[in-house]
């Protein structure tokens, strides 16, 4: 397992407050693919998204999604992913309007270890009548100094889905925490999922 910086070049890695995990099972042709990159590849993979939403079509019937079609759901995931990436890039490059803004400000913490990604023009979008809540979630935890370590992510359609999916995510989080503890790196509050 590796922990790699998401933002900074390697020589400046000590400035980075957002890190991603490379799980050995995600290694392809000898290359480690970190989970953050892997998730954004998946969330831009039309074939994967179409299969995912066909499989979970019943979940889209929830009035919460306002009669969203599979086609619209694919658009929504891709747009959310790219809007967040755009926001992340703007923060990294401290573009006009982003001066002094930090990565933590675009990670809205839903629960202790579940983050919603704030995309570009978030407030503007919320005001639209057809607005639906974000589908994408990142999972991870914060270290002693608030540094965020990303361990996983999901397209979340229902609360029930959280029950099933969260077990896997909790296991991943615990696995990474154990790995870091062995290196004398500790998380902010410790893992206490009830």
């Amino acid at each position: 397992m590796k922990i790699v910086p998401i933002f900074a070049e390697q020589e400046n890695a000590h400035h980075c407050n957002l890190w991603s995990v490379c799980f050995p099972e995600h290694r392809v042709d000898g290359h480690d693919i970190d989970i953050f990159s892997k998730l954004f590849d998946l969330w831009n993979d039309t074939n994967y998204l179409q299969s995912f939403f066909i499989q979970h079509a019943d979940d889209l019937l929830n009035p919460f999604w306002k009669g969203m079609s599979i086609n619209d759901a694919i658009d929504k995931v891709i747009d959310e992913a790219l809007d967040f990436i755009e926001e992340l890039e703007s923060v990294e490059n401290q573009k006009p309007g982003y001066e002094g803004k930090t990565v933590k400000e675009i990670f809205h913490s839903l629960h202790k270890e579940e983050f919603i990604l704030k995309g570009k023009d978030e407030n503007f979008k919320k005001a639209k009548p057809n607005f639906t809540s974000p589908m994408l979630r990142l999972y991870g935890f914060q270290l002693e100094d608030g540094t965020i370590v990303i361990t996983g992510g999901a397209i979340k359609l229902t609360d029930q889905m959280q029950g099933d999916h969260l077990k896997k995510e909790i296991a991943q989080i615990q696995r990474v925490k154990d790995f870091l503890s062995a290196e004398f790196i500790y998380n902010k509050e410790g893992l206490n999922y009830e």
């Binding site: 991603s20 490379c22 970190d34 831009n44 179409q50 790196i185």
Partner: protein
């Protein structure tokens, strides 16, 4: 220097997350990637509905590798018009569609109606093809063959000719 981040750095194996390069490429090409994704969705649905077709057969018919079809289905390939046309033909389905535009409507002849006061010519879609130099209508009263000039309103898409004689048989032609 932050001791915690130095410890993390030691666990990176000198590697940095690979998200950035792809992210920049996706943001830069966002507009055509959306088109590519939409084509991929329609291809996948077509493959799903056609039991006699699969990715391998499609690749053979189009003259590309199965790996390429697999990449196309991910929705991140910048397809040429030639490839789209071949894929469309092989799948027997439209993968791109064109919206109606001003010249796609039928060029219907203007219709007219008249009262005792005026003749009204409904220019309908005809008005869209009127050139400024051809903006005048001549109207003929059938038995007298008197030529009357019509004034027309582009916004209302109609031409109005005041009439002197009620009940005359009228015809019209576009002035040249």
């Amino acid at each position: 220097m932050n001791d915690l981040h130095n410890k993390l750095k030691n666990l990176s194996g000198g590697q940095v997350s690979s998200w950035k390069e792809k992210a920049q490429w996706r943001l830069k090409n966002r507009s055509w990637l959306k088109l590519s994704s939409n084509i991929a969705r329609r291809m996948a649905a077509s493959l799903e509905d056609n039991e006699a077709m699969n990715q391998k057969k499609l690749a053979e018919q189009v003259g590309v590798s199965a790996q390429y079809i697999s990449k196309v289905l991910k929705g991140e390939e910048n397809l040429t018009l030639e490839t789209i046309a071949k894929l469309s033909e092989a799948l027997g389905t439209e993968l791109i569609a064109f919206p109606e535009y001003k010249y796609s409507q039928s060029v219907a002849a203007p219709t007219f109606s008249y009262s005792t006061q005026a003749l009204v010519i409904d220019l309908g879609s005809h008005v869209r093809t009127i050139n400024n130099s051809l903006n005048e209508y001549s109207v003929y009263c059938g038995h007298q063959n008197n030529e009357l000039k019509a004034s027309y309103n582009l916004d209302a898409q109609c031409a109005v000719v005041p009439l002197n004689n009620s009940g005359d048989r009228l015809d019209y032609k576009k002035c040249n």
